[in-house]
């Protein structure tokens, strides 16, 4: 078999056994790998509670992983989200996916619950569940240092063990599977870490075609200002977006009460670069290298983290942002949700948090101390318990990232329709509404956005399944990646065929969410965005979103996505897409 290994490992933690399943090639073609294939397997168990021992945690790579395909060193970790109750998945970099492929697996499915805190160690076809009791409560960096030599490692921190519902899984120390609280699922299974190391290779169908398609992608990447340009993410990290969000007056500030942060010019990527002089780093096999790490191995915060730990909390101390990022990584917490939950706390308490308070509250959350215990339930539950549910800036219970939807209406619609709750990456309309790729669209209109969002959701579902980094699609398109996919796997396809596969993957997620009761009422934004302005001066007005226009766009989205009027999947569409789940 080319591209895929054709095998997945099923690990049962109840009795520490495992077996191998050979995957039907037709299923591989239908769901590709990564997020798509993980979703296929999750669908069978999706109505179980996230903490039910039979609820699987799935780690899946894609056919392009462990090949020379550009930006392909990623994988998906998926389960049902403890934070939202929806599908919960994260695409994560590092080298875990590559090692898993080298070990001979397209994915692993972990079910059951270990009687005691344990680790899973994979070396080629050999899998051991080992005792990890001595690592209880330990931070992720410490655990990673102990696991040196065992290959790539995915580790949870104390936050997950202490019940924080936005817990992350840290891969290879610096790469976070952050969103949706997926780390909490691993903790619930009593697994502290997973390591994997392999020595195998992935067979390529046509190396010459792969080389040619690679060159096309590299040429496009070199032509992309966002990726490899003078101020692109290769040079400045994703923090390169910070100034732009400020310039477009859509930087969420003070828990989304404003969209302009007065101290932004002092807290931008240039300021971080000047102060910390970070070096380039990144996922295995990637030439963009958007991750920035200092000489003493301190990771620089990503854009979302930079923005939320500065503007959202009205914090102008740059070092606090770096400390907050490090604490979240060490504790194993999603930085977006952590910062947004603190911002919600700040507004409800009517108290601006000092740099020290930000840091100590993060530690309290991770260690389940004092008010940290309540904050560890996430902004939505915290605000509801305080009688202020309207002050939680969440969608489907997940805290919103660092793009204010009043400044980009496609983003507003994408937040609402995302299958994993408040998420910027499902459709990432910032690409065209702000970054002008593939062409610029009017950010202050919903006209045409329903179809664009649906199309982008399908595209990113494919990217997460191949797997490839979503950032490369600022430059390349599925037209180029279809050539790569065919060169690697030998499966004839086109960019348009892959869009259809993306549609199938996304619809499957809508079906899973619908099975757990999610509907139109959940595809919505907090009231604040429809009632309060964000910023206004002579040249720009970031006013509230017209709710009627939003609802019309959402209805259009349902039509385009072929859902019913309530946003629910319909059997006819599912059947046409080859989904036999009804």
């Amino acid at each position: 078999m080319y591209g895929w290994c054709g095998k997945i490992s099923k690990i049962n933690l109840c009795d520490h056994t495992w077996d191998i399943e050979t995957v039907d090639p037709e299923i591989l073609k239908k769901f590709i790998g990564g997020r798509g294939l993980a979703g296929y397997y999750l669908g069978k168990k999706i109505t179980l509670g996230w903490d039910d021992p039979d609820m699987p945690l799935l780690i899946f790579t894609g056919p392009l992983v462990n090949t020379r395909s550009p930006t392909s060193g990623r994988m998906t970790i998926m389960s049902r989200s403890p934070l939202t109750g929806t599908v919960g998945d994260s695409s994560v970099g590092g080298s875990f996916g590559t090692e898993l492929k080298k070990a001979g697996f397209d994915g692993i499915i972990i079910t059951g619950k270990s009687p005691t805190l344990s680790g899973i160690e994979i070396f080629n076809a050999s899998i051991h569940v080992t005792d990890a009791g001595h690592l209880a409560g330990r931070q992720t960096g410490y655990v990673h240092s102990l696991l040196k030599g065992k290959g790539s490692a995915a580790v949870i921190g104390p936050a997950a063990e202490n019940g924080v519902v936005f817990s992350s899984i840290m891969v290879d120390r610096h790469f976070a599977a952050g969103r949706g609280g997926i780390g909490r699922v691993l903790a619930c299974k009593n697994i502290k870490y997973i390591t994997v190391k392999g020595t195998g290779t992935t067979k390529i169908f046509n190396s010459q075609d792969l080389k040619s398609a690679r060159e096309d992608v590299f040429r496009l990447a070199a032509a992309s200002p966002v990726l490899l340009g003078e101020f692109g993410i290769s040079r400045f990290g994703t923090g390169a977006l910070y100034d732009l969000m400020d310039a477009r007056r859509m930087m969420p500030t003070d828990n989304f009460r404003q969209t302009k942060f007065s101290q932004a010019s002092l807290m931008n990527a240039h300021a971080f670069k000047k102060r910390y002089a970070p070096k380039k780093s990144g996922c295995r096999g990637c030439h963009i290298l958007c991750k920035k790490i200092t000489k003493n191995r301190t990771p620089m915060p990503e854009f979302e983290t930079m923005s939320h730990f500065s503007a959202l909390l009205d914090n102008n101390d740059i070092h606090t942002v770096v400390r907050a990022n490090r604490i979240c990584n060490e504790m194993g917490m999603d930085t977006i949700s952590a910062a947004a939950t603190l911002a919600c706390f700040s507004e409800i308490s009517q108290k601006r948090l000092s740099p020290n308070e930000i840091v100590s509250l993060l530690v309290d959350i991770g260690k389940k101390r004092g008010v940290g215990t309540a904050l560890g339930r996430g902004a939505a539950i915290y605000a509801t318990r305080r009688g202020s549910s309207d002050l939680a800036m969440t969608v489907k219970g997940q805290e919103l990232p660092a793009y204010d939807p009043r400044g980009a209406y496609g983003m507003a619609l994408a937040y609402a329709t995302s299958t994993r709750g408040g998420c910027h990456l499902r459709a990432y309309p910032i690409s065209h509404e702000i970054l002008r790729k593939p062409v610029a669209t009017d950010r202050f209109t919903f006209n045409g956005k329903a179809r664009i969002i649906k199309s982008s959701e399908d595209l990113n579902a494919v990217a997460d399944s191949l797997t490839a980094c979503k950032f490369i699609f600022f430059a390349a398109s599925l037209e180029e990646y279809a050539k790569i996919y065919t060169a690697v796997t030998g499966v004839k396809t086109s960019g348009q065929d892959l869009f259809k596969t993306g549609e199938r993957i996304y619809y499957n997620e809508r079906i899973m969410n619908a099975a757990n009761g999610f509907s139109e009422k959940d595809d919505d934004l907090p009231d604040r965005f429809f009632t309060s302005p964000g910023y206004k001066n002579e040249s720009i007005n970031i006013g509230p979103i017209d709710r009627k226009a939003f609802l019309e766009a959402r209805s259009n989205y349902y039509v385009v996505r072929k859902l019913d009027k309530k946003g629910m999947p319909v059997p006819e569409t599912a059947k046409k897409l080859g989904l036999d789940v009804f």
């Binding site: 200002p225 340009g229 931008n268």
Partner: protein, 391 residues
């Protein structure tokens, strides 16, 4: 929808891409809309059903593109392979469908962004908006124009021109627009405010498009004022730069220019390493065509001319350099800034022309015209020399 349709109908016409009333435009959100009733709608509606797209253009191009596209399509064997930079980077190649059936068009568009149907026209589409379909249509016309005249020059040198091609060439030459000419004056520098810089950039951009020195989408322009480079945004139309100019501080203290033109690195190097402050980059056709005319046989870099050329090449006193779009080891930012020192301009192989000036856009704009006209004259001189000698 009507507003979008009328904007693009005007753009097609203004840029000489189609005749009045010719383009059929389709837009789909929840429902499909067309700009006019047309018999082709029945066929093209099926494209929306089978392809992931939200916009479509179908039209015969205006002359001289129409004759060129028809000829190249008919003689292509199914795919046209232009070698200009835009095609190489963004379109890759141009598929041809010999029948106007949904199946055939869909099959081509599954692979590429456009399809040429001989006798019918060009179909292009967008996934995000009509601008994509427009840009692709424009790129196809540009690529075919450059390919036809490049191939002709190459083949006449090698005695490979048949009667049909010769007759077409003669006809097309008669249909060519007159060489651009400008006798006026642009805003005079030095400028004393940011506002005048914006106005000067917009004026020069507009004139560049009006004189057909660049298709609307292509090209970029910048001016350095008070240690900030003001530069057109990526994917912006030079004739509509209002709100599409990024300020980029030379000390790198802000990343707002992340949306600037792909050629920002080259512009920055030029202003940092020379005394120039005004930079204009267009894609005038005969400059592009002539840049690809190279007589050096058995060159070790043949086939890689766009990336690396070991020879010093000139048209008159204007250097021709290699370089790909943007950054990267073969990016034109590594060749143009050095070559433009003490020169009125630089041509990038298969791509376009950079000109620069010290105080305002008068010199760069006039040089853009002058160099293009020199290239045009030189092109026909070379053609004539081979026709005379009968080689």
């Amino acid at each position: 929808m009507d507003q979008i349709f009328s904007t693009y109908e005007d753009k097609f016409l203004k840029n000489g891409l189609t005749n009045p009333g010719a383009p059929l435009l389709g837009l789909l959100d929840a429902r499909l809309s067309w700009n006019k009733d047309d018999i082709a709608c029945t066929v093209l509606e099926k494209l929306f059903e089978h392809l992931n797209m939200n916009s479509l253009v179908f039209s015969q191009p205006a002359e001289p593109y129409r004759s060129i596209v028809e000829y190249l399509a008919e003689t292509s064997g199914g795919t046209i392979f232009p070698s200009d930079c835009e095609t190489r980077t963004f379109l890759h190649d141009l598929p041809v469908s010999f029948n106007f059936s949904p199946e055939s068009i869909i099959s081509a568009l599954k692979e590429r962004k456009s399809v040429i149907i001989p006798g019918q026209g060009i179909v292009t589409y967008g996934t995000v908006g009509m601008e994509q379909a427009y840009v692709t249509f424009s790129s196809v016309c540009f690529a075919c124009f450059v390919k036809f005249f490049s191939d002709y020059l190459h083949d006449i040198k090698h005695g490979k021109i048949n009667n049909r091609r010769q007759n077409l060439f003669d006809l097309l030459v008669k249909k060519l627009e007159p060489a651009p000419c400008f006798k006026g004056s642009l805003m005079k520098g030095p400028f004393d405010s940011e506002m005048s810089v914006y106005q000067a950039i917009q004026e020069a951009g507009m004139l560049t498009v009006e004189h057909r020195l660049v298709d609307s989408y292509f090209g970029n322009i910048s001016f350095c004022y008070n240690d900030t480079l003001y530069i057109s945004q990526t994917g912006s139309s030079l004739d509509n730069l209002q709100g599409c100019i990024d300020p980029c501080p030379l000390d790198g203290s802000s990343c707002t220019a992340i949306t600037a033109s792909s050629e920002l690195p080259a512009h920055l190097k030029i202003v940092k390493n020379t005394t120039n402050k005004a930079i204009l980059h267009g894609h005038p056709r005969f400059s592009v065509i002539l840049s690809m005319d190279c007589d050096i046989e058995n060159c070790q870099c043949r086939g890689q001319c766009h990336m690396k050329c070991p020879h010093e090449r000139f048209v008159g006193d204007i250097p021709i350099v290699s370089g790909e779009v943007g950054s990267g080891p073969y990016g034109l930012c590594n060749t143009v800034p050095e070559a433009i020192k003490e020169r009125p301009g630089v041509i990038v192989y298969g791509h376009g022309l950079f000109t620069a000036g010290q105080t305002d856009f008068n010199r760069p704009f006039k040089n853009l015209i002058k160099i293009e006209n020199n290239c045009r004259e030189e092109y026909f001189n070379r053609v004539r020399s081979f026709r005379r000698t009968g080689q």
